[in-house]
Amino acid sequence: MNTSLIFNDYKFEFGASQQEFDFKIFSGIRDYNAKIDLNWFPNILHNVKFGGNYIYHRFTPTNAYARSGDVVFDLGEVTRFYAHDAALYLNDEWDVTEKFRVNAGVRASYFAHVGPFSRYVEDPSFPGKFLDTIDYAQGRKVADYLNAEPRFSMRYELNKSSSVKASFTQNYQYIHIASFGSVSLPTDVWVPSTDKVKPQFGTQYSLGYFKNLKDNMYETSVEVYYKEMKNQIDYEEGATPDGDVRNNPDNNFVFGKGWSYGAEFFVKKSMGKLNGWIGYTLSYTKRKFPDLNQGREFSAKYDRRHDASLVVVYDHNKKWTFGLTWVYATGDALTLPAERYFMSAGPPVNIDQNGQVGVNNNFYILSGFDKRNDYRQKAFHRLDISATLRSQKQRNYETEWVFAVYNFYGRQNPYFIYFDVQGNSQDGNQQVQAKQVSLFSVIPSVTYNFKF
């Protein structure tokens, strides 16, 4: 039996002030967690695990404070979400025959969003205008969900060196993250399932074939999978962080579905002086939301068509070990503007109170977007190498020098792309240049490890 009590507290605060302006945003998550896990062996063929856990969550999604001059903006009460999150599980690992093992289980999960809570009711024809708020007292239920999550997996040994595995899993996720831009930022918002946000529901199927070669010197495998995800969340088009202030963040969410499928190939050599592994995954991850991308399907940000890695370790002798790691991944999917258009930054014809006429020739270049995540950043790849020198083992300590080079061939991997508007409309030489920013070029390092 294993019992634990856990307390987690995460806080984030960001502020800025400049002369007449002051600004602060803060967010956080606090969890009280208790869990118990038990084991039961009814006989030699069964290993039954069961247990439960309970978490009390307190979410503080993005809240803000702002002041300009002597005005402190009325940003409403600090909004928080409180939730009970409980689960019971039972799992049996059953050796049906010597060659056939089944792992079957079920998890019952219960999630309740409770007060204190204020639901802002927005006027559908006038976003930003609230008709009403519905207040829930402390501990009062706002919404709750009870679900069963079955899981099943099996392994069948075809012979001494090969086997097949298959699995089926369903699960519910009650905690969600939503982000605004294409880069993760502290303005990403964690929210629980509420009356508006239904739990995310995933179903996954996988099938694999595993074979060892040359007296287990090589392990190889091929696996295929398919995953379906319902009740995915995202911000509605055009949402900005200030839309979450004096509002419930989930009022700005839209909902859709996702699916993902792919195949993984893996070869590993684990004996001899030279060992390591090669892995390759081909995958597709798609999303479809009625209210995003005009209802058309689109690639998820992390839709990685190709993902490969190579790890090689060479034990030259007792003193020296050499290592090499190479990784490759398809670039992130990105939304880029398709069109540009010019707008006069104010009424072009200016007439002041004395009747003096002027022409506004300050023009802004605006962007028009069409397909979501339709552009790919350049592929990410990188080679790291290392050489490790071990000292002779002393009685109570040993030491190790590691000489390494990160990104050996200095690949400029894309971190993000931005556009630079150069020139101005008055001189008629305005233009847009795309720029790619990369972090970390070649980084050599020397590390000294001392174990005692």
Partner: protein, 297 residues
């Protein structure tokens, strides 16, 4: 249990990021019609029609002049009368006004309609190519500023911002836009970035607020690139054009200013500027202006 002591003795980490120009290969686009429609109090409504272009096409000297959509039929209705706007094809200060349609009589050049606060206007456009666009916007009632003044910024002896006091009415949904020009220095009213605001967080309050001096984007003028940038200066006569705008005009400029100030940054949300035009891009904007003059001393 083993304990570990790890010392990173030397690491030549080139933490500085590096940056390079890249060419992006984007698919062809369907050009859309861009509407800039204006109804201002006391002025005849006018509309400028142009087209969108592929994002990275080079911008030549004449690009702005080449985009106008000519030969469209443009109608504005105030609920009682409907007028067809007259197309003018001239240029002022080298800026082509092709694709410029105004509510003036084509012979007498007298206004056929005048913007009146409290009126809802509808716009209907049929281009020569047969595209149809429409929009509706209300010209709001004026909400003038209570007072305006200049204040030197703390330790700067002659530079400062324009300040104003506003009493926001106790009804939600009021939105504002600030323009200003310096007499004999600026040719037109300039909106600084952040020129728009609404009353969601300040509803029904009276408060003071400052505005910096706006400049045209990427201005090369000396005063926009030295310590005077963003500031007004003692001796300036500042004319403030303070406008109440309808909520759609607010939303358009909120998103447009976000796009302009984030310049395609990855931290910005890649989304379209919210538009009240059905069938194209742009805005049918309404501005009810009140004017104030500040003498900076």
């Amino acid at each position: 249990m083993k304990k570990y002591l790890i010392l990173i003795l030397a690491s030549v980490a080139m933490m500085s990021s590096c940056e390079k120009n890249i060419e992006l290969d984007l698919p062809p686009i369907d050009q859309k019609v861009v509407v800039e429609g204006y109804v201002e109090n006391g002025l005849p409504p006018y509309v400028i029609l142009s087209k969108t272009e592929p994002y990275f096409d080079p911008i030549g000297q004449n690009t702005i002049n080449n985009l106008p959509v000519r030969g469209a039929m443009v109608y504005i209705s105030d609920g009682i009368d409907t007028v067809q706007l007259t197309e003018l094809d001239t240029s002022i200060n080298g800026v082509s006004l092709g694709g410029f349609y105004v509510a003036l009589d084509s012979i007498t050049f007298l206004p056929t309609m005048i913007g009146t606060p409290g009126t809802t206007y509808s716009l209907n456009i049929i281009t020569a190519a047969g595209e149809q666009l429409s929009s509706i916007a209300k010209l709001p009632m004026p909400i003038p500023l209570d007072s305006t003044w200049f204040k030197v910024q703390e330790d700067l002896d002659s530079l400062g911002w324009a300040w104003a006091r506003l009493s926001d009415p106790d009804t939600l949904g009021n939105a504002y836009r600030w323009f200003a020009k310096r007499l004999n220095k600026d040719d037109f009213f300039i909106a600084p970035l952040g020129s728009i605001f609404e009353d969601r967080f300040i509803n029904g309050r009276s408060f003071n607020f400052p505005y910096n001096r706006g400049s045209i984007q990427n201005s090369e003028a000396e005063e926009d690139n030295n310590e005077e940038a963003d500031y007004y200066k003692k001796g300036d006569t500042i004319v403030v054009k303070f406008c109440t705008i309808d909520f759609a005009t607010y939303e358009f400029w909120r998103d447009a200013e976000n796009q302009v100030s984030s310049n395609g940054s990855p931290f910005a949300v890649p989304s379209n500027v919210k538009s009240n035009i059905t069938g194209g891009r742009g805005i049918f904007a309404t501005y009810t202006a009140s004017f104030d003059t500040i003498i900076a001393n």
